[in-house]
Structures are given as structure tokens and as C-alpha cells.
Symmetry: C2
Subunit: 403 residues, 2 copies
């Protein structure tokens, strides 16, 4: 009897009707002969409502108390789901992160799992029951409630799947899988039946919002097959698994975009060793997550250093750079939030050198200027004007025949 | 530095404004030099909303999951209150029932506290902080979340006050204290400055809704002085403490009433030993809480047995009695929900024999028939028609000069 972990996000359990629909699906899976562990998020907009309430009450929000507050959300979902399962004759038992043995470090609001003591879940499974676990939360080594940050429920599900050696971790969401591009922008975008962890990582990192980067990394590191699918249509979705060397690989799998980045340029930096290191060390110390970096060839002994950061890090990045202008001997700092990143992802790129050329030709034909470029072995990202991003996505999707 | 436990009920923490007002009061108490432990209930109608949601989701509600669901309420209040206290510069740390070391038996939805391991609360107090504890909840010896039933937050507060040897347990609520009668019925009712545990127990048992019977029993058994007061006006309220032999005792302290009782009569029961025992054993087995019992003098070898029960137990009581009619050889069963109990409570009754006479005279003067009577050493209760109850309360309040 194989074990399946099923994770349901906020929209999948948004109200009483949805919770009953999810219970029905879990009951079917159980009756088809699988062991099932369920992981749930807070219902719909519960987390947003709690955050608003906190803002109404106080301007000071100790992160320990934020975690305590937010962890109320999943326990509502999980106890309701257990009741709905009881209604269908399925024995289910809810477990908080702490009860499920999810031990984390003590970094509140973005804790990392350090250990899982899954004895109680194993006991429930052994007795034929369905454990329903609160996603997103754990207990720190100091016995405080912690939360795992953005995408935390996915991380909980993948971690439990790894520890319990599940056959698959099913991530139920409000879309039917991972697409070759955002279907709102490219109507002919295709649902991908199967992609590798590496491709999913690049897609998640470059703007795909279906799975968090962290949960995919965890799945890859622990060899947990993921199945991303819809909790509304219940149809098969996208499998994320090891790269399969026997299959012919598509050169390009997906086109993604991300309009939330911003660009910072430090102008006229003297071309001396160590100055760039000084700059990026200062940014790292303020926890700024720098993505692309471009340094022009030195002209007359100075150069311009440009880099991109998430939009929410723009203010602090500009502040850091301006504080360094004198020390670096630079001429000044400019910033630009009006940019977007367009990326091509595909495991086959590694062996097909023509991708870059076709990308440039496609964008040039539309008159779109590429302001910055970065690549990995299976990804090409181009920074373009924000207004041109959707045209670029559509053109690249067509040029690489992804429909 | 003396320790004060402050408990705030649902209406006292119903919204963001109220939570800030409570934080302000706690901060003042702390700054006046007291150590403070705070116990909170769920905000306003949160518990009712969660119960409604459960009913929408399922007809089957395993009590373990009901406890998990309801325990979400207090953790929202307590984390918000800690944030509001942080805003005022007071260091506060929230603790769930489990974290506060409140260990209970495993009887879900009405668990009893078996032990309190208050190490974490003591550590927080020792560090100068204010522990904010979730009322109403604990962790069972089987490591499941439990709730303490009706009035459970009061019980949490009193139990913590006992274990931490607090100087006083302050119960903040939406009324200004305990009154000589319900002020909605008797406008001239007086707030009682000080009453004994025994009087408070009789008041709670006979219809006063300010404190739960269980929390008062706990306070009496552990010698915890209670101070019932308003979280809206913050004025001093009613102290509940040991009976003070040096003070002259009022003969009657308060008049209470309870319209939620119902009367059941088993007619024509043969006058043989053991039949009444059989009847009340059967009721006890169904967890029916019988209050007054009256058995008429036997006439022609049969008697009528009447008793009162809470209104919500009427259906099951009638069912039990009707099931026993044949076995007992009785003539039949009647029931009557249209009754109310009016009670006089006063520690001085013990030494003043005239109370019963004046009670009967007062009701007789109004033409009110007394259908059943029960007494303790400090209470007289009369069952009357429901429609006559308020007149009876007003007349007795005046006759005993309680205004």
C-alpha cells in the first residue's frame, strides 16, 4: 500500500463547500488503497485578515507573536477537514506542526526545518487513519511556535513526503499544473505533463508562482516526485521528477516573466580590484537578494555596475549604494523599477547552442532592447522594459513552438 | 512585588480597540509594581463563528477536533495582546495552554486540569516579562489539545493564580461586579462589595452568570481571592473571599433567578423502597443534572415524584422516565418547561430562622404559588410559574431591603 502526501492550498479550502470537496477527494484516495497524509494551509484569506488585525492592534509586531497569530489559521482548516472526513466515515486526526514533530530553528516568520519526528503520524497511519497536518508551521528547538515563510505549506508537505518515503507529494492548487507560459498572457500556452526538478527550479526562480523555490529544492534533494494539480477539476497535472536521460529533451520547456524586479546602477566606479566585492558585501549584509549583475568594460579607467533586485529591496539597495559612493569614488547611483525579466527554461539548452541566437533575433524583430542578460546551463534571462515584457513572452513562446 | 492574575473575557477583547484598552490596563498594573499574568478568552463571537463553521462542514464532530478548532480562538487574542503590549514598551510573551503547562485529563470539550507545570511562566515573570496565557485550553496526558468547557477561561485564571500564589485573581468582564439581583429586572439592585465563596457558589448555582460554578469552587478550595470587575469602566467591583467571622453578616445578600429550568413529574409511583433510587440512577447514567426533588406523602400506597432539570436536559429526562413507567409500575409522566427558580442567598441565613417565613409571606402577598422548595444552609430556592419570576425577584429584593 503506497503512501501519498496531499497538500491543499488556501483557495482549495477557502470555505465549507471546498473543505467538503477536499474531504471527498481524500476519502476516495484512501479507499482506492493508498495511505494518505494531508497537509493544509489556512482557509482563503485568513492569513491576510490576521495580518490586518495585527496592524490594527499594534505598530510593533514581535515575530514570535506573529508566528503564534498566523499558526491559528491552519488549525481551523485541519480540524474542519477532519470533521468533514469523519462525516464520510474516514478516521482522520489533526496534528499541529509541533504535534507532527516538525522541529525548526528559532528564526521566527522564516524558520527552517531541522528535524521531523514523525512518530505520531506513523502511529495514525499504522492504525489505518489519515493524519491531517498543519502546513507552514513548526516548533522551534526552544519550544516556541514558528512559521516557515512564503510557500511554507509546500515545504511541510515535501518534507513529510521525504521523511515518510511517500510515493508522491501531490500539490493541489487553483491552476491545473505548470504551463509553458502564463496562460493569462499566452492563451495557447500548454500544460507541461512532466518536467525535471532543475527546470522547475528555474521556472520558480524566474517568475513561475505555482511552487516555491524552497519546496522544489527540498523535493530534488530528497528525490520526492511532485505532482502539481488542480483541487477544482481534479485532473492530472504536471509531474516534477528526476531528469530522465532516456527521453529526448525539449530544447525550451517554458517562457516565464517577472515584473517585480528593479535595476540599480552605480555609475563611474574606478576599475580597481575589490570595489565590486565591497559593494555586494554591503548589500548582502542588508539581506538584499541580488539577481543579475552586469559590469561594463572599463572605459578611461571607470566602469558602470548594474544589478537587479526584487522590487521590495529597491529602497534599501539604493540607500546602500549611495552610502558607498564616496568610499568607492563613484560618480553616482541610478535606479529603475520599470523593468521586467523574461526567461526561457529548458533542460535541452545544455546541448543546443542556438537558443541564445533565436532569442535575440526574436526580440530584435519586435524592436525590444535587451538591457541585461544572465544565463544558467538551462535558462536564459533577459531584462527588458516592463511594457515590452508580455509581447516578448508571446513572441518567444511562438518562436520556440511551445504551443 | 505581588503577583496579580488578570483574566479578560470575550467581550473585553472583542476588537482591536478593546485589545489596546486591555493592554493599557495591563501596562499600568505592571508599572505600578505588580507582577502580572494575563489570561484571555477568544475575541467576542469567535467561538460561536467556529462552531457554526463546523456545523456547515460536517454533521459528525469528533470532540478531539472540536477542541483543536476552538483552541484557535485564544491564540489569536493572546498574540494580538502581546503585540499591543509591545507597542506600549511592555515585554509580553504568549503561551498556549500546552506551553503554559496546563495538563488535563483526556475528556475532550470538558477536560479537567490535573496538573500545572508553570516553569515557563515563572521564567518569563523572573525576567520581568508578562506571560499572556490562552484561557480555556490545555494539553491532555495523551498530548492532545483539550478545552475546559463552559467558563473554562475563569478556571484557567484561578488555577494559575493558585499555582503561582497570586495575591488576587481579577476577573474582568462586561458588568461591574456581582449584584444583589439582576439589574435589568431590579433597577435599584446594589453592587456587592464583598461576598464569601459560599455565597458566590450559591449565586452561581442558582442563576448568577458572572462566574462559573467550577472556577469559584476552585478558588475556594485553593484560597484564591477573586475580584470581579469591569473591563469597560475599570472601577473596583466585587471581592469574593473567605467568610469573615468578625463581620456582621447580612441575612440575605442577593436574590437570583433562573428561567432555564424545567420540571418533570412521575405520577403514581408505588411507595416501595428502591424505586426512587432506580429512577435517579437512570437519570445520572444519562448525565442529567437533577436539581430539586420533591416527593409527596404517600396516599393509597402511591406517590408523585417531581424534580427539576436544566431545560436542555428536559427531552432526555422525559425519555428516561417514560422508559421506566412500566418497570416502576407508575401511572405516567408529565413535564413543564414553564417554570422558573427564584433564590435567596445569604451567609447570615444560618443564624436567622425568619427568612423562610418572610419569603413565603412576600410571595403569598403577590398571589404567587410556590410549586417546589429546596434549601441549603445559606440558600432558599422556590420554583414558581415562569411569568411570576420577575415580580417575585423584585418583591423579595424589596422585602429583604437589599437596595
Amino acid at each position: 500500500m503506497s503512501l501519498v502526501v496531499q497538500k491543499f492550498g488556501g483557495t482549495s479550502v477557502a470555505d465549507a463547500d471546498r473543505i467538503r470537496a477536499v474531504a471527498d477527494h481524500v476519502a476516495r484516495t484512501r479507499r482506492s488503497g493508498h495511505e494518505v497524509v494531508v497537509v493544509v494551509s489556512a482557509m482563503g484569506k485568513t492569513t491576510d485578515q490576521l495580518i490586518r488585525l495585527a496592524a490594527d492592534v499594534s505598530t510593533v509586531q514581535p515575530t514570535r507573536e506573529v508566528d503564534m497569530l498566523l499558526s491559528a489559521g491552519e488549525r481551523i482548516t485541519m480540524s474542519l477537514l477532519c470533521m468533514a472526513l469523519a462525516d464520510l466515515g474516514v478516521e482522520a486526526t489533526s496534528y499541529t506542526g509541533s504535534q507532527a514533530g516538525i522541529i525548526t530553528d528559532a528564526v521566527h516568520t522564516k524558520a527552517k526545518i531541522v528535524e521531523i519526528r514523525a512518530d505520531r503520524l506513523r502511529a495514525t497511519l499504522g492504525g489505518g487513519g489519515v493524519p491531517v497536518v498543519a502546513g507552514f508551521q513548526g516548533m522551534s528547538v526552544e519550544r516556541d511556535i514558528t512559521t516557515l515563510g512564503r510557500g511554507g505549506s509546500d515545504t511541510t508537505a515535501v518534507a513529510l513526503a521525504a521523511v515518510l518515503a511517500a510515493e508522491v507529494c501531490e500539490i493541489y492548487t487553483d491552476v491545473t499544473g505548470v504551463f509553458s507560459a502564463d496562460p493569462r498572457i499566452v492563451p495557447e500556452a500548454r500544460r507541461l505533463a512532466r518536467i525535471s526538478y532543475e527546470e522547475m527550479l528555474e521556472i520558480a526562480a524566474s517568475g513561475g508562482r505555482v511552487l516555491s523555490l524552497r519546496s522544489v529544492e527540498f523535493a530534488r534533494n530528497h528525490h520526492v516526485p511532485l505532482h502539481v494539480r488542480s483541487a477544482f477539476t481534479w485532473e492530472p497535472g504536471t509531474w516534477v521528477d528526476e531528469e530522465d536521460a532516456t527521453m529526448e529533451q525539449a530544447v525550451v520547456t517554458a517562457v516565464t516573466h517577472d515584473a517585480s524586479e528593479a535595476k540599480v546602477t552605480v555609475i563611474g566606479v574606478p576599475d580597481r580590484p575589490g570595489l565590486a566585492a565591497r559593494l555586494f558585501r554591503s548589500l548582502a549584509e542588508r539581506n538584499v537578494n541580488v539577481d543579475m549583475i552586469v559590469q561594463n568594460t572599463s572605459v578611461h579607467g571607470t566602469t558602470d555596475i548594474s544589478f537587479t533586485v526584487p522590487g521590495y529591496d529597491l529602497a534599501v539597495s539604493t540607500e546602500v549604494c549611495e552610502g558607498l559612493v564616496t568610499e568607492l569614488g563613484a560618480a553616482g547611483v541610478t535606479s529603475d523599477a520599470d523593468v521586467a525579466r523574461v526567461s526561457l527554461v529548458g533542460a535541452g539548452m545544455k546541448t543546443h547552442p542556438g537558443v541564445t541566437a533565436l532569442t535575440f533575433e526574436t526580440l530584435a524583430a519586435l524592436g525590444i532592447n535587451i538591457e541585461m542578460i544572465s544565463t544558467s546551463s538551462i535558462r536564459i534571462s533577459c531584462m527588458v522594459r516592463a511594457a515590452a515584457a508580455e509581447d516578448a513572452v508571446r513572441a518567444l513562446h511562438a518562436a520556440f513552438e511551445l504551443a
